[in-house]
C-alpha cells in the first residue's frame, strides 16, 4: 500500500483540465437562477428508471480523472442535504412518488439537473406506458444534459452551467 501511495505522490494528480463546453455538448439551461452563495453544492442522484448506464458515467465523475469535487460538488447521502438533484431515467411510474418526495425533501433553494436522453424525453423508453417520458413531467428542470449516456465531460459541463451567473447580471 505504501509503495503505491509513494508512487501516486510521485506521479502527481491524474486529474485533467475540463474541455470547454461547445455547441456539440448540447447542454440546455432552462432556467437562469445562479446559486446565491459561493461554489459549494450538495448533489443527490436520483435514479428514476435509468438503465444504470447513466449511473456509470456519474460514478466516473468521482474518479481522479474528472474529480468533480474540485468545483465544490459533493455527493450527499440524502436529498435532505442536497442543493441539486441529479436525475436520470425516464421517470418510471413506479418511481414518480419517490422522485417527488426526494425533491420535496431537499431544502430550498434547489435545482434539478436532468442527465441523459431518458431524463430529457424518455429516450428509448419514450413510448412506454410505464414511463412518463422524462423528468420534466414530474419536476421543474434547470439544466438538461443530453447523451445516452452523457459523457463525464458533458456531465461536468452541465453541472458547471449551474454555477454560471447570467451575463445580464
Amino acid at each position: 500500500m505504501f509503495k503505491l501511495l509513494k508512487r501516486t505522490l510521485q506521479r502527481g494528480p491524474f486529474t485533467e483540465p475540463l474541455a470547454e463546453e461547445t455547441e456539440a455538448s448540447g447542454i440546455r439551461r432552462l432556467t437562469h437562477r445562479p446559486p446565491p452563495w459561493g461554489r459549494s453544492m450538495g448533489l443527490r442522484t436520483v435514479d428514476a428508471g435509468s438503465c444504470n448506464g447513466c449511473e456509470l458515467e456519474i460514478q466516473a465523475l468521482l474518479n481522479p480523472v474528472y474529480d468533480v469535487e474540485r468545483w465544490g460538488f459533493r455527493f450527499t447521502a440524502s436529498p435532505r442535504h442536497a442543493d441539486v438533484l441529479l436525475v436520470t431515467g425516464p421517470a418510471t411510474v413506479n418511481m414518480t412518488e419517490a422522485l417527488q418526495r426526494a425533491h420535496d425533501a431537499a431544502p430550498n433553494p434547489k435545482w434539478v439537473v436532468a442527465a441523459g436522453d431518458c431524463a430529457l424525453h424518455g429516450g428509448p423508453f419514450k413510448e412506454s406506458p410505464a414511463c412518463q417520458g422524462g423528468i420534466h413531467a414530474v419536476l421543474p428542470v434547470d439544466v438538461a444534459i443530453p447523451g445516452c449516456p452523457p459523457t463525464p465531460e458533458a456531465l461536468c459541463q452541465g453541472l458547471l452551467a449551474l454555477l454560471e451567473r447570467d451575463q445580464k447580471e
Binding site: K3, L4, L5, C51, N52, Q59, A102, A130, C131
Partner: protein, 522 residues
C-alpha cells in the same frame, strides 16, 4: 423474504434423473434454435414439477406470453454422468392458471410474481402472492401489459415479512439511498447492530421493456436490449443478436463473432474493475478505489476510440457488429492491456497485504454452496460459492471454444472470495483479450438477416453472470422477447448473506454482489 430452506426436496437414493431422459417421452415440438420448445399438457407439467424435486436441474427462466407459461431448464451433470441439456417447455393455460413451480425451485418465486403482474396468469399453489413489479399503479393483468398506468394513484400497501422479538427494530433503505445507487428498497429487521432479516423489494425501475419490444424491428429492439442493464450493454446486445440470428438461421461472420468477444471481455474487465474498486473503497481504501477507477476510465476511453462509444452500446447488432478494428486501434487496445495489467496487479497485491481490508472482507457475508445451487446463481456470486457454471462453456458459444478464459470456482462464498474471483476473472480476460486480438480473423463483420419467422434463444455470460434471452421474430419484427438478468437469483442470496452480519456491513455486501436492479425490473 422468500423462505429459503434446502429441506424441501425429499432425499433420493437413486441417481438424479437426467433432463434428456425425461424429455425423451414424445411431446409436440415448436421449432426453435438451438433448443426447440416442448409443449406440455398439464399432467406433464405436474410430472415436471415432481422431477424438479428429484433432480438438480437448474431453473434458467420462467416467463409468460399471453396465456402460455414457458420455463427454461438446464441440466448440467458432472462430466462422467452425461452431457449438459437445455430445454424450453411450455404450458398453455386458457383458464389463466398454471401449477406453481416455486416449491420445487425457490428462484421461481419472484418470477411467478412478475408473471402475475405482467400477464395476469396465476400460479396455483404459490404461497407468496404479493405483487412484484406492480406497485398498485397498473391495473392488474391489463392488455397489453402496462397499458393505462396511473402515476398519481396511491401506492398499494405492501406487506413485508416481519421479524418479532425483544429489541428487534426496523430500518428501511430506499428507494433513494446510498451514494450513486439504482433505486430499490431494502427493509432490515435488526437486533442492535445485528441483522435478523433483510427483505428486498424491486420494481421501481420497471420500464415495460418487454411490451416496448413487441412489433419493433430487430435493429430497434437490439437498441432496447442493450439498455435493459446499461453496464451489461454488450452482454445483452450479444444475447439478443445470437437469439435473432438463430431464429432466422443465419450465422454472424467469424470476424464479427470475435469482435463481439473483444467487446464483451472489455466490458467484463471494466465492470469488474469498477466493482473491485467499489468493494475496496467500501472496505476502507479510497486510494485503491481511485486507482481502480482510473483503470476503468482508461478502458472506457479506449472503447470510445475503438468502438466510438464508452460503454460500447449499439455496436453488437443482429448479424454481426457495427464496428471494425483498424490496425492503429488494435495497437491502442494492446497498449491498454500492457498498461492495465501491472497497475491492476499492484492494486490486488496491495489489497492482499492489507490486514485492515482483509479484516472487513474475510468471512463477511457468506453464501453457502448449498444456497447458491438452490437458486442456480451464476457469475461471480455463483463461482464464489462452488458453482462452476459459466455460459461461455455451457452451453458455450464461439469464439470461447478457441480462447477459453474461465475461472475455477471456490467454496468460501464470502466478500473476500467474490473480490478474489473478480480479480481472477480480470486476469483471465486480459490474457484472453490478447489471444483474441492476436488471432482475429479477417473478412466481413456483418451479414443482413432475412425477414424470416422463427424462435431463438441464447445464454450469454455477462460480467454479472448468465443473461438469458428468448425471442420470437417474424418478417424482421419482434413478436415476443424475454430477457432474464442474473440478478434475479442473486438478490435472494444477498438477503440471506446479510443475515447475522452487522447493518454497517451492508454497503460492502451490496457492492460485492452489485446486483442490477434495472435488469430485473425490466
Amino acid at each position: 423474504m422468500e423462505p429459503l430452506t434446502d429441506d424441501q426436496a425429499p432425499p433420493s437414493p437413486e441417481p438424479p434423473p437426467r433432463l434428456s431422459d425425461w424429455l425423451g417421452a414424445a411431446t409436440p415440438l415448436v421449432p426453435g434454435t438451438p433448443w426447440p420448445r416442448h409443449v406440455l399438457g398439464e399432467a406433464r407439467w405436474l410430472d415436471l414439477r415432481h422431477h424438479l424435486f428429484l433432480s438438480t436441474w437448474t431453473l434458467v427462466d420462467l416467463w409468460a406470453e399471453e396465456k402460455t407459461v414457458h420455463v427454461a431448464l438446464l441440466d448440467d451433470p458432472a462430466p462422467e454422468a452425461g452431457s449438459p441439456t437445455t430445454a424450453i417447455l411450455s404450458l398453455e393455460c386458457p383458464e389463466g392458471r398454471y401449477p406453481s413451480l416455486a416449491r420445487a425451485r425457490v428462484g421461481a418465486i419472484r418470477l411467478e410474481r412478475a408473471i402475475r403482474d405482467l400477464s395476469g396468469l396465476e400460479a396455483d399453489g404459490a404461497e407468496d402472492r404479493r405483487p412484484w413489479l406492480n406497485h398498485g399503479r397498473f391495473p392488474l393483468a391489463s392488455k397489453p401489459p402496462d397499458a393505462d398506468s396511473d402515476p398519481d394513484a396511491p401506492e398499494a400497501p405492501y406487506r413485508f415479512f416481519a421479524a418479532e422479538g425483544e429489541g428487534v427494530h426496523q430500518l428501511s433503505l430506499g428507494p433513494v439511498f446510498g451514494g450513486v445507487e439504482a433505486s430499490s428498497q431494502f427493509l432490515f429487521h435488526a437486533n442492535g447492530e445485528t441483522v435478523v432479516r433483510l427483505e428486498h423489494r424491486g420494481g421501481y425501475l420497471h420500464r415495460g421493456i418487454e411490451g416496448l419490444m413487441r412489433g419493433r424491428t430487430l435493429r430497434e429492439a437490439a437498441t432496447l436490449a442493450g439498455r435493459i442493464s446499461g453496464d451489461s450493454a454488450v452482454a445483452y446486445a450479444l444475447a439478443f443478436a445470437q437469439a435473432a440470428e438463430r431464429a432466422v438461421g443465419v450465422e454472424a461472420p467469424p470476424r464479427g463473432v470475435w469482435l463481439r468477444a473483444v467487446m464483451a471481455e472489455m466490458e467484463r474487465i471494466a465492470n469488474h474493475l469498477g466493482d473491485l474498486g467499489a468493494m475496496l473503497g467500501e472496505a476502507g481504501s479510497a486510494l485503491l478505489q481511485s486507482h481502480a477507477a482510473v483503470l476503468r476510465e482508461r478502458i472506457a476511453r479506449v472503447a470510445h476510440r475503438c468502438f466510438s462509444h464508452r460503454l460500447m452500446m449499439d455496436r453488437v447488432v443482429p448479424g454481426g457488429v457495427a464496428a471494425d478494428l483498424h490496425p492503429d486501434e488494435m495497437s491502442l487496445l494492446q497498449g491498454m492491456i500492457r498498461e492495465v495489467r501491472p497497475h491492476f496487479e499492484e492494486i490486488v497485491s496491495a489489497y492482499g497485504r492489507s490486514a485492515s481490508l482483509l479484516d472487513r472482507t474475510l468471512s463477511t457475508g457468506v453464501v453457502t454452496p448449498a444456497l447458491a445451487s438452490l437458486l442456480g446463481a451464476g457469475g461471480v456470486v455463483g463461482r464464489s460459492s462452488g458453482r462452476a457454471f459459466d455460459a461461455r462453456v455451457t452451453p458455450g458459444y464461439p469464439p470461447y471454444d478457441h480462447v477459453p478464459m474461465t475461472v475455477p470456482p471456490r467454496d468460501e462464498g464470502d466478500v473476500h472470495t467474490r473480490l478474489k474471483i473478480r480479480a481472477l476473472e480480470i486476469r483471465a480476460s486480459l490474457n484472453g483479450l490478447v489471444l483474441l486480438l492476436d488471432n482475429l480473423p479477417g473478412g466481413a463483420t456483418r451479414v443482413e438477416l432475412p425477414p424470416l419467422a422463427g424462435e431463438g434463444a441464447a445464454l450469454v455470460e455477462g460480467f454479472r453472470g448468465e443473461v438469458w434471452l428468448w425471442l420470437r421474430v417474424d418478417g424482421g419484427q419482434v413478436i415476443a422477447c424475454r430477457a432474464r438478468d442474473p440478478s434475479w437469483f442473486h438478490l435472494p442470496l444477498l438477503e440471506q448473506a446479510v443475515k447475522e452480519t452487522i447493518v454497517a456491513d451492508f454497503p460492502l455486501l451490496l457492492k460485492s454482489f452489485n446486483p442490477s436492479h434495472a435488469g430485473c425490473d425490466l
